[in-house]
């Protein structure tokens, strides 16, 4: 746990200059940034959508996602994704 970039109390935010949106022409969620675009898979899209819409702690994000996905235990997946997103410079703390 200690190696993780985020913990239950951190409030993740999209990095400066990053924008999340749904792209009808691509039929997927995307992250837009200066002169670039990342197409997001389903899970990544759900997490980043929530982060872009709500300023809340990681614990609150996990609880909200769990509620939306029939109470599934998503904590590990969420933390793994947050680390990856942070190392890609998509997120700030």
């Amino acid at each position: 746990m200690s190696e993780r970039e985020f913990n239950d109390d951190t409030v993740p935010m999209l990095a400066q200059g990053y924008r999340f949106q749904w792209e009808p022409a691509q039929n997927c969620n995307v992250l837009l940034y200066p002169e670039g675009m990342v197409k997001l898979n389903g899970g990544a899209g759900e997490i980043l959508k929530l982060i872009s819409e709500k300023q809340q702690t990681v614990a609150e994000h996990i609880a909200e996602l769990a509620a939306a996905f029939n109470g599934a235990d998503l904590a590990d997946d969420v933390y793994r994704f947050l680390d990856e997103a942070y190392s890609n410079d998509w997120l700030r703390k």
Binding site: Q16, G17, R19, Q21, E23, A25, Q26, V30, L32, Y33, P34, E35, G36, M37, V38, K39
Partner: protein, 397 residues
């Protein structure tokens, strides 16, 4: 010229292209729309890639025509919009265009020299929803010296940089390097640190338009490049976590060509001030182009149906050695415009490639630059600056 025209655009589309590439089997979409709003520019950079005869373009697209272009491209999947020129700040309707583009869902990039920009304008752009400002430093050696010496221009840049930061934009600076300024990479980067830049792109001049005309005078020496690259790497280490530095290696010193525009008419669409649609901003120079205009045809017809845009798609147009080359899917044979400018045939391999029978042309161009640099200063060719007077003179208008 404000950088977009002569920085390596393949990096920009590369990031889109690679993200798309992973997904595979995509239909070809104009993901990147570069809107060259105007050829007006307060600067006269001799490395500009605007066409030599830009003074010939009298009538720019109107506000409504541009917004219609944005709408059409957006409907076809475009997400990134580059607002460029010339100097886009000279368009009085810039805020209106940003607002419209942002409402359509574009990620809007303003590519500017910063000349004519002030804190008030930056705040207006922010309110209009502009996503990103890239400030290109003209940095001909005289400008750069002035900047570093602390002239009014330098004060202006500092203030503008503060305004950009105060509006929560990342500070993105682009320097176009060439023989006359590449020895000052450390000074350039010190300046960037002082301006608290978040991203810095050191892009080597690419030889199109005015830059091609001035190639002998702009070509850097090998030793200069080695030195500049070492300096850039040193700063990259020192600035880790604070300032990201991109260093783009010039293709004339490479053995393989750039994957120009990520493939012809693959993800990139340029619309020039008069409405001409191009698969890349230098393509106007190629022979046999019909130069479709957005006033006469829809973007869909141009992108999918026009001869220009289909001309060098895929691999069937290729000649040897590209045709049977196992790297053709990686670099698409390089740049069509460069192939034509140097070999006279746009279907040839980009002579940057060491497999090209014309590779000696690149070596000769480098040698010509070195020979020019070795002359006593008074015998060296003067740089020809990009201005309407020179444009008319050179183009015989």
């Amino acid at each position: 010229m404000t950088g977009s025209e002569n920085k390596a655009p393949e990096r920009a589309q590369g990031s889109i292209g690679s993200a798309i590439g992973k997904v595979g089997d995509q239909i070809r979409q104009p993901l990147w729309l570069l809107a060259e709003l105007t050829y007006s520019c307060p600067l006269q950079c001799p490395y500009c890639s605007n066409p030599m005869d830009f003074a010939n373009v009298k009538k720019e697209l109107s506000t409504e025509e541009w917004i219609d272009v944005f709408k059409q491209a957006r409907a076809m999947g475009a997400t990134q919009l580059g607002l460029s020129g010339g100097e886009p700040l000279t368009r009085p309707d810039l805020v209106e265009l940003i607002t419209a583009a942002r409402d359509l869902g574009f990620y809007t990039n303003l590519i500017t020299s910063g000349v004519g920009m002030d804190a008030e304008k930056v705040a207006e752009f922010k309110a209009a929803g502009l996503d990103h400002i890239q400030v290109s430093f003209q940095a001909s050696s005289e400008d750069l010296n002035n900047l570093i010496a602390g002239t009014d221009a330098f004060q202006h840049k500092i203030e503008m940089a503060k305004a950009v930061k105060a509006n929560d934009y990342p500070m993105v600076l682009c320097f176009v390097t060439h023989r006359q300024n590449i020895d000052q990479v450390d000074e350039i980067l010190d300046l960037c640190i002082e301006l608290e830049a978040d991203y810095v792109e050191l892009a080597t001049t690419q030889y199109y338009g005015w830059a091609m005309h001035n190639r002998d005078q702009l070509m850097p020496m090998k030793e200069q490049l080695v030195q500049a690259e070492a300096t850039a790497h040193r700063y990259q280490e020192e600035q880790k976590g604070k300032m990201k530095i991109y260093y783009v290696v010039p293709d004339y010193y490479e053995e393989r060509p750039k994957a120009c525009m990520n493939g012809w008419a693959n993800v990139f669409l340029t619309v020039t001030p008069d409405g001409t649609a191009l698969p890349c901003h230098a393509a106007r120079e190629l022979p046999g182009m019909q130069l479709p205009n957005v006033k006469d045809m829809s973007i869909d017809e141009i992108w999918n149906g026009s001869d220009d845009f289909n001309k060098y798609r895929g691999f069937d147009w290729m000649t040897e050695p590209c045709r049977s080359c196992d790297e053709k899917e990686k670099d698409f044979g390089g740049c069509r415009c460069q192939a034509f400018m140097l070999t006279g045939d746009a279907t040839n391999a980009d002579p940057v490639c060491s497999k090209s029978p014309n590779h000696h042309l690149i070596e000769e161009a480098v040698a010509a630059g070195i020979a020019e640099a070795a002359k006593p200063v008074i015998e060296q060719k003067a740089l020809v600056f990009r201005n309407p007077k020179n444009s008319k003179k050179i183009s015989g208008l």
